[in-house]
């Protein structure tokens, strides 16, 4: 479905991704593990067109994504739910979520249906429908971000640290939701520091370090890897 091939990405003189390759099969839930600053978000920024590649190729279902604008990427069926949520803080929850369907705006019935589905998935958002998104707690904001991303009807969903700053209970809800989305057929690429939880729902995992993939395999294999254990599983 999604493949990255020898991708390089620079911030000025600093090379954040260094000939990095990875692939996510259709329907997979792929987890990217890595420390702060390892380059997970940079991978996502490269894929979603927010940052130009220095080298390499990215393809989505056979289509080349190099040089496609973020809007074009969304239209191609790939939605990036970013780190830091990037909500529209002064807009209401409903509007935030609805704007996620911007590329499908002509399908009014579809937008309405999508909105109802998101509200059903996160009942707390239905309650806060008309409040400004900025006034919500971190966990609720993360749900808005996820809901907004789902409105884009992604074939591939990139989730960047959805558990960031969330209470353990909320983290669990979040992972439940992600797993559910994946079960319905959406390919998911999930960047996480919360390795335990992430490996619990993953079908495949990559370990990113210093802008490169240093290890990959099925979750169980990684769980048993010494290095992963030491660095990401706190033991």
């Amino acid at each position: 479905m999604l493949t990255l091939d020898e991708v390089c990405l620079d911030y000025g003189a600093f090379r954040a991704l260094d000939r990095l390759s990875l692939a996510a099969a259709e329907g997979a839930l792929v987890v990217l593990l890595g420390a702060n600053g390892a380059g997970k978000s940079s991978i996502f920024r490269a894929v979603s067109g927010l940052h130009r590649l220095a080298a390499g190729r990215i393809s989505l279902g056979g289509r080349d994504l190099a040089g496609v604008s973020p809007a074009g990427v969304v239209r191609a069926g790939l939605v990036h739910c970013p780190e830091g949520r990037m909500l529209f803080p002064a807009m209401t929850v409903e509007k935030n979520v609805r704007l996620g369907a911007y590329v499908h705006r002509r399908d009014r019935a579809g937008v309405k249906r999508g909105l109802d589905e998101v509200m059903a998935m996160f009942p707390v958002l239905a309650e806060k429908r008309h409040q400004p998104a900025g006034s919500l707690s971190g966990g609720q904001q993360q749900m808005v971000a996820l809901g907004r991303a789902l409105m884009g009807r992604p074939k591939v969903l990139l989730l960047d640290e959805p558990s960031l700053g969330l209470a353990p209970l909320v983290v669990r809800q979040m992972f439940d939701a992600v797993a559910a989305v994946n079960r319905r057929g959406t390919t998911v690429l999930l960047a996480e520091q919360n390795a335990h939880a992430a490996l619990g729902i993953a079908s495949h995992a990559y370990v990113v370090e210093g802008g490169r993939i240093v290890l990959d395999g099925p979750p169980d294999a990684l769980r048993n890897d010494d290095r992963v254990r030491r660095a990401y599983l706190g033991g």
Partner: protein, 256 residues
């Protein structure tokens, strides 16, 4: 050395820090850990004078320094590094460090205008300091490079050098090993030991548990702006609340 009592910080409706007590003994390495958004950076911002606390007190060597601004705190010997590894990217590494020692100089505009001897002496002192700290962090050979163009690990080292150039008594390091790979992390840990050995008290925020556990003499755990535990690494590792809210050995397990 550094002590806080009942430290509280409110941002509008959000309470980012609530009644935190902590003490950082001199000559030791302390660590502050906790989940994302727990208030660790806020804690540093309060202690270093970047934010004024809503309530509570900050004591430095017994003296009440609550509410002093960051520059005053720096002059009293509290240095810090930033989570995003802030450097003056447009300047060379050496120029970064020279400005880092400015607070220990007294030359004024007048000295600059008349080209006084004091200014010359102090500029020499700043240069010497820059070389000394560069040497300490092991980066003498990249002093001429633009700070914007060096690697993440080098940035972390330069950040330490910059803080050291202020001749601090205590150094607050926010995720000093964030974004560097395990090999480099070990090098940084070594550097931190050297810094403490040179007589600087160190306090760090870190997510890399193995490093914290090996390095720290004393650990404070924050969650939701509150202190949920404090003690030696061994005590912390065994604390059920810490396991639950942070270390995340989630007994319940996640749905497949």
């Amino acid at each position: 050395m550094l002590e806080v009592r009942g430290l509280t910080k409110r941002f509008g409706g959000l309470v980012a820090m609530r009644g935190v007590d902590a003490a950082f003994p001199p000559g030791k390495i302390s660590a502050v850990i906790g989940p994302n958004g727990a208030g660790k950076t806020t804690f540093f911002n309060l202690v270093s004078g970047t934010y004024a606390p809503t309530a509570g007190r900050v004591l430095l060597g017994g003296r009440d320094v609550t509410g002093l601004r960051a520059d005053a705190m720096a002059r009293l010997g509290v240095a810090r590094t930033f989570q995003a590894t802030a450097l003056f990217d447009g300047a060379s590494v050496r120029d970064n460090l020279i400005i880092g020692h400015r607070l220990r100089t007294r030359a004024t505009l007048w000295d600059a205008l008349v080209g006084s001897r004091r200014l010359a002496a102090e500029e020499r002192a700043c240069r010497d300091k820059a070389e000394a700290v560069l040497d300490l962090v092991g980066l003498s050979r990249i002093g001429h490079r633009l700070a914007g163009g060096i690697t993440q690990e080098e940035r972390k080292r330069v950040a330490f050098a910059l803080a050291l150039a202020t001749e601090p008594r205590i150094l607050l390091a926010d995720e000093p090993a964030g974004g560097v790979n395990p090999g480099e992390t070990a090098g940084l840990a070594e550097l931190m030991r050297r810094i403490v050995a040179s007589g600087v008290t160190l306090c760090l925020i870190e997510h890399k548990m193995d490093m914290v556990m090996r390095l720290a003499d004393h650990v404070v755990v924050l969650d939701h702006g509150e202190r949920i535990a404090a003690g030696t690494p061994a005590e912390i590792r065994a604390d059920p609340r810490v396991i639950e809210s942070y270390l995340g050995v989630d007994a319940a397990g996640m749905p497949p």
